[in-house]
């Protein structure tokens, strides 16, 4: 890193589009120097792997992980991608980065040197620092262990296939995959007590009971004695509704074989691993895009790269952050790269050149130190809260954001608010809600497990704002659920007042 003292900085690292391994390392060092020493990014060590496009297709199919258990759905994904790639309908993403320690990033062999530098800056410094810093990733993923865990799960699944047959394993995996979105913990559960602690508490309780003992209490008439305890008043189990269906199945399903339980656990772990990524798509991509843009521009300012390099970088950067209007061809929803990059850049602008509007809206960050503000935002927010906090009126104007209300009993769609003074807060609030996972994933919880009776499982779908479950796929999922559970499974739909609206039941 010391080779790039300012004195030597006026020299170009290289020219032209050809890359070799030495050049990659040189560029990586140059970018690292800026990222770490100038912008104080905190990163995992990087492991940059150069792969061919077929290997990229492989990596795509297995959810971006370098290794995974075999399953037909990955084959489907692979075929789909391969087909689209062959026909030229889709280029390959130029990078895949894995949230692990060391952070693994894939570079594609076909890319030109500027693209490789862009990917290094994007993945190895952008995403990498996000993985290391963001609270959701810190809380829910264990970067040190994920690769080892995937190796374990692959071996375990393959061993099960040998022992119990492909069909049985595939059926279990299918059922687990169907429930994957309901297999994550959103709140930390207290760590279970160790046996020692358990014994200690037990002793404390006994001791307490002993010290509190007084024969006088015996003489008090007991409260419910006259009515005689109702036999039906058995406490409901589980005492609190459980939202992690896979966890509940893993722990309580009456009929699962031990190996099936382990498979449920593997899928649950995977779902949990991907949980933060789904919650931070905009921030994560925005952060990485902001950094590749900033780092490479800095490289250019230092005179390390030439105009041609920068033009190629900018051209693909522009493609990445393109946002089409809702009525334009090829509109595919809000582009997380575009929104994220715009917001990140906007935060920097608010810090560096605040307008009066910014001072009114963001009094605590306007004119502040942009590095600190962005670092704070990156560490402590997810998409929902990030947008709720940092989307500025200026951006709403630039993106021409508007909100449409789709209400069931209204024959028309209604334009709820647009980018004007009355609408800013409402648009921001609604966009933030749009990234709320609760709005996307139906609220389904285990309410009752009749473990003394017919062992049936009752789930409650709490309907929010009248939005129903998709009928056909729900009954499919219920079938999967009852396959895992082994006994009857009921799904009750409950409205906001707790009234049961409908009930689906699958008999095992």
């Amino acid at each position: 890193m010391n080779a790039l003292e300012p004195g030597l900085g006026s020299k170009l690292i290289s020219t032209g589009a050809e890359w070799d391994f030495e050049l990659l390392e040189t560029y990586d060092r140059a970018i690292a120097d800026i990222a770490i020493n100038e912008y104080k990014l905190d990163i995992f060590p990087n492991q940059i792997e150069v792969i061919a496009s077929e290997q990229m297709l492989d990596a795509y199919a297995s959810l971006g992980l370098p290794i995974g258990y075999p399953h037909w759905s990955y084959g489907k994904e692979f075929i789909r991608n391969e087909q689209m790639y062959r026909k030229g309908q889709r280029g390959l993403a130029y990078e895949i980065v894995i949230n692990s320690n060391p952070c693994i990033a894939y570079l594609m062999e076909e890319n030109s040197l500027p693209m490789q530098a862009l990917v290094i800056a994007h993945a190895c410094y952008g995403h990498n620092s996000f993985f290391k810093g963001n609270y959701l990733f810190r809380q829910w993923t264990n970067a040190d262990a994920i690769i080892d865990y995937m190796v374990f799960s692959r071996n375990y699944v393959m061993k099960c296939e040998e022992r119990y047959g492909h069909e049985a394993v595939e059926a279990t995996l299918d059922s687990c995959h169907a429930l994957m979105s309901h297999g994550v913990d959103r709140y930390r559960q207290p760590t279970p007590l160790s046996a020692d602690e358990e014994r200690l508490r037990q002793r404390e309780r006994e001791e307490y009971a002993r010290t509190q003992y007084d024969d006088i209490w015996r003489t008090l008439p007991s409260k419910g004695a006259g009515k005689g305890g109702k036999p039906g008043a058995e406490p409901n189990y589980p005492p609190e509704p459980q939202e992690n269906l896979l966890y509940f199945i893993e722990k309580h399903a009456p009929k699962l074989e031990p190996w099936q339980r382990e498979i449920v656990r593997i899928v649950r772990k995977m779902a949990q691993y991907f949980y933060p990524q789904g919650m931070t798509k905009v921030m994560n991509e925005g952060w990485a895009t902001f950094w590749h843009y900033t780092l490479l521009n800095r490289l250019f300012d230092k005179g390390l790269v030439d105009d041609g390099f920068m033009l190629e970088v900018l051209s693909s950067h522009t493609n990445v952050i393109a946002q089409r209007g809702f009525d334009q061809r090829g509109y595919g929803g809000i582009n997380p790269y575009a929104l994220g990059f715009a917001m990140m850049t906007d935060i920097r602008r608010i810090c560096e050149n605040p307008t009066q509007e910014d001072r009114d809206w963001f009094p605590d960050i306007a004119g502040g130190d942009w590095l600190k503000v962005m670092d704070f935002a990156m560490r402590n927010y997810k998409d929902e809260s990030f947008i709720g906090q940092f989307l500025s009126p200026k951006l709403i104007r630039e993106l021409h954001l508007f909100a449409i209300a789709d209400h069931e009993d209204d024959e028309h769609l209604l334009v709820d608010s647009i980018h004007n003074e009355q609408g800013y807060r409402r648009v921001r609030q609604l966009l933030s809600h749009q990234y709320n996972r609760d709005g996307q994933v139906p609220d389904i919880q285990v309410t009752r497990y009749d473990h003394r009776g017919d062992r049936s499982l009752t789930l409650a779908h709490r309907r929010h704002r009248g939005r129903p479950l998709d009928d056909s796929s729900s009954s499919e999922v219920l079938k999967h659920l009852s396959r895992l559970w082994g006994f009857n499974v009921r799904l009750q739909t409950i409205d906001d007042n707790g009234k049961v609206l409908e009930q689906r039941e699958t008999r095992a």
């Binding site: 060590p45 075999p70 692979f78 334009v415 009355q422 994933v441």
Partner: protein, 408 residues
Amino acid sequence: MSIVIDRRLNDRNKSAVNRERFLRRYKEQIRKSVGDLISKRSITDMDRGGDVNIPTKDIGEPTFHHGQGGDREMVLPGNRKFNRGDKLQRPDGGGGGGGSGDGEGGGDSSQDDFVFSLSREEFMNLFFDDLELPHLIRNAVGDVREYKMQRAGYTPSGVPANLSVARSLRQAMARRIAIGAPLRREMQALKAAEVPADDEIAELQRRLDRIPFLDEFDLRYRHRVKVPLPISRAVMFCLMDVSASMTEAKKDLAKRFFTLLYLFLSRKYQRVELVFIRHTDNAQEVDEQGFFHDQQSGGTVVLSALKLMQEIAVARYPSDAWNIYGAQVSDGDAFGADPEKSRAFMNEQLLPLSRYFAYIEVPDDPMRTSPLSYAYQRIESDKFAMSTVTSKGDVYPVLRELFKREAA
């Protein structure tokens, strides 16, 4: 801080196992799709991969998600003309435009079919599965060609048995001349001098002597390469009764039968020509399209087709230059003296010309012996095979004898 690793040499086909699982899981749908392809394709075109499609709903993975209905708001970009309070028509199909509320950028679910291509191998395997071909035969038909070793010059490496002595020595001599030339030139110069410098000459001589007579890199070996061995050429006569009683299903069976025979022949012979003869009460030579798809009306005279085959064979495919194969499909109806005459004609005229003649019958009622098969049953020749076929699995046994004999 960073490590750069070259992984390009790692295994590239990591997803092959997943792909294969996918194919296995949806075998039924894929087979159906392949079936459609087979009926659309020409016989000579069967021998390659193809695009198959599976209805998307069959391969979906269900999850709990929201359906249509209820209240919600969406935020979209790119407003140009709307103001607060504007009312819009709902777009068709309910929902609402972008589907930006779907979370994971959905929208893909609206595609109708999942289309992808099968490799030639996968395609052929499904085709053979359909016909319930035994594996040994798959190889005979599907893949393995015969090879012969052919000389292809010389190589610097090989086994001792292939050592070419003359070549090696020639190589050695060339090397000795080339390496020694400057030395000899120098020596000549020294010798020609007034006072020959004996020491230097002796030194040069020693150096010349040290040039080895034969060195390892002089060795040359005869090089041999495997070349696929085309045997010769064949003509395949496809005969079919196309009277109204031949339904599409029967023709489909027929097509599979012809295809199998064609595949077998095209592996065995460098060049295979197809002649399509259809007949009702008189026979016609037609192209493949007309053969399989035109509906004709009229009676049935089998003999006419056999006669036409014989005429064409004699006129265009002399049996000393062509291997003649015949394949006939019929529902077995024949009237009057026709079956007997056909049998006699077959026995006396056609079989002597042909290498093999296979007849399959696709009857309406498999329990009944049709007039034609009653007659054909009495043909005693190992060149002739016949069978009644009611399902695709029955096709192969007709050709079993042929494969057994010729594939060996």
